[in-house]
Amino acid sequence: MSAVALAARDSGTMLRRNLKHAMGYPGATLGTLLVPIILLLMFVFLFGGTMAAGFGGSPRDYANYVVPGIIVLAITSGSVSTAVGVNMDMTEGIVDRFRTMAIAQSSVLTGHVVGGTLVTTAGALLLAAVGVLVGFRPIAGLLDWLAVIGMIAVAAFAITWISVALGLQARNPESASNIVLPVALLPILGGVFVRPESMPSGIRWFAQYQPFTPLIDTLRGLFFQSVPPHQALIAISWFVTIAVVGYFWARNRYRHRRAH
């Protein structure tokens, strides 16, 4: 078997393994979506009236504003289960078995990344569906939706690579779940709940220049047919960069890390 065919076949096997983990523990998989869902319900039903006033509209207008941000929060929430899963592989000894087998070694990480990206993208779309239930009414056409899914997948792919790297970096599963937490919560310091312009000056500067703000803006634009093209470009550049950094970091850690 050629090296490429071997890598593809072993990656497929590892992907099935990771999806089986995700399917076998729907509680854990859906559990990561719990925080975004609670935040969504809180902000729409509890604070919706007040927030809407700040946007000069009805609570429904606020649902339309907040759901794209919550979708991004669902993407980053997936980072926790990815990092913990990778770390458990490293600390529980199974990785030593993989390392002594005649398999494409890259497949161990590829399986995690492809699996994580698929599960995270599906989770983000599920959040969009929950959003519709609470009053989110996008006016996007088919192409816009495809672009939305594409943007979500690109971001999920990048965040998964970073999560894999952090999972490899952490000493144990507990610390893996702790060190990805900043990644999971970072979108909140972007324009998830309120416009960055309304934030205090220091945070405003951070919110305007962090990677999740242009992503949220792009998704909002796609949902309501007013894409700011330069924001989409900035978002894509950010996540391609993050993916590349995560890839090299993870690859380096995988080569140097020993389980015991």
């Binding site: 076949r9 099935r16 983990h21 076998g24 529980e92 199974i94 030593d96 078995r97 002594t100 015991h260």
Partner: protein, 326 residues
């Protein structure tokens, strides 16, 4: 030359250091189809040797050929020829026993009908059929070790590495694992196992090497090795020092420990010499506080071969670990 024989392991001049020397010039020659036991206490370097021979960590120096393949030049070919059961369980806890085996079958690229058959056969061979659909996380230590072994065998390896395969198992599970290993060997597989127990090496291996502080200090068949160490002995603790002096006079072959009020009398382990010792003690009317019959174990091997006991080697490792931690 055994080096060219498939299934053989040939190692010469193997060295490995971290902050201290772990392996200091180890050479081994293991013929195909044999069971080789590497015997030594914790910290002797056993796991480091296994980790190097199974491509997990690189050696600092040395020529290594496993299953006819040079370890440095052809690691992929070595991996294709070996099976490894490490000291720490390497099963996927979030999958069932059956799913674990199917995963291994897929990674060995078995054909679809073959992967099912192999999995079913191994589950049966290792007594796991009843719990095949249960998550590995729920398995006992013995079941987990059996699953671990089955996973190492699904690719029909030429050489099987077992790093302390029975450490932490109860006596019954230990016997089961021994039985499994003997069956594998009768099938022609080369087995490289490490152990802390002379009894285990004696029971399973055709060839034993004793590893101490990163060096091979003795090699041979179990019989050859046991012939080099003192056999069993009787330890007699006397009630007071006067009695000890009397006893030492009667049993001239004994070594005397005044602090412990203990006599150590070498015997062959047979009944008659033992009875003669007891008769003489009893005839002198000595007041014996305790008496134990001791058969040779790893401590004796170490004392005889290295001049220090296995425990002190372990302590040395602990002190090194503590130094490293500081």
């Amino acid at each position: 030359m055994s080096i060219k024989t498939p299934g053989a392991i040939a190692v010469s001049g193997l060295r490995k250091s971290y902050d201290h020397v772990v392996l200091d010039g180890v050479s081994l020659d293991i013929p195909a189809g044999s069971v080789f036991a590497l015997l030594g206490p914790n910290g002797a370097g056993k796991t480091t040797i296994v980790n190097i021979l199974t491509t997990l960590i690189p050696a600092d120096a040395g020529e290594i050929v496993v299953a006819g393949h040079d370890l440095v030049r052809e690691p992929h070919a070595v991996r294709a020829a070996i099976g490894v059961t490490g000291q720490f369980s390497a099963v996927d806890n979030l999958l069932t026993g059956e799913e674990n085996l199917l995963l291994m079958a897929d990674l060995h690229h078995l054909a679809p009908q073959n992967r099912r058959n192999r999995t079913r056969d191994l589950l049966e061979q290792f007594g796991l059929t009843d719990i095949a659909r249960k998550l590995a996380a729920t398995y006992s230590g013995g079941m987990r070790r059996r699953l671990d072994l089955a996973m190492s065998l699904i690719g029909d390896p030429q050489v099987l590495f077992l790093d302390e395969p029975t450490t932490g198992l109860d006596p019954r599970s230990r016997r089961t694992v021994w039985q499994i290993i003997r069956e594998l060997v009768s099938g022609g597989m080369t087995v490289f196992l490490t152990t802390q127990y002379l009894e285990e090496a004696d029971h399973l291996a055709s060839q034993i090497a004793v590893l101490d502080r990163g060096q091979i200090v003795a090699e041979g068949t179990p019989t050859q090795l046991k012939a080099r160490i003192p056999g069993s002995h009787v330890r007699i603790v006397l009630a007071d020092t006067t009695q000890l002096s009397v006893a030492a006079h009667i049993l001239a072959a004994a070594t005397v420990d005044h602090d412990q009020r203990t006599l150590t009398v070498p015997t062959s382990g047979d009944l008659d010499p033992l009875r003669s010792v007891l008769d003489r003690v009893s005839a002198a009317g000595l007041d014996v506080a305790s008496l134990t019959v001791h058969t040779a174990d790893l401590d004796d091997v170490f004392l005889a071969l290295t001049g220090h006991d296995a425990a002190s080697a372990t302590q040395r490792k602990q002190s090194l670990t503590m130094e490293a931690a500081r």
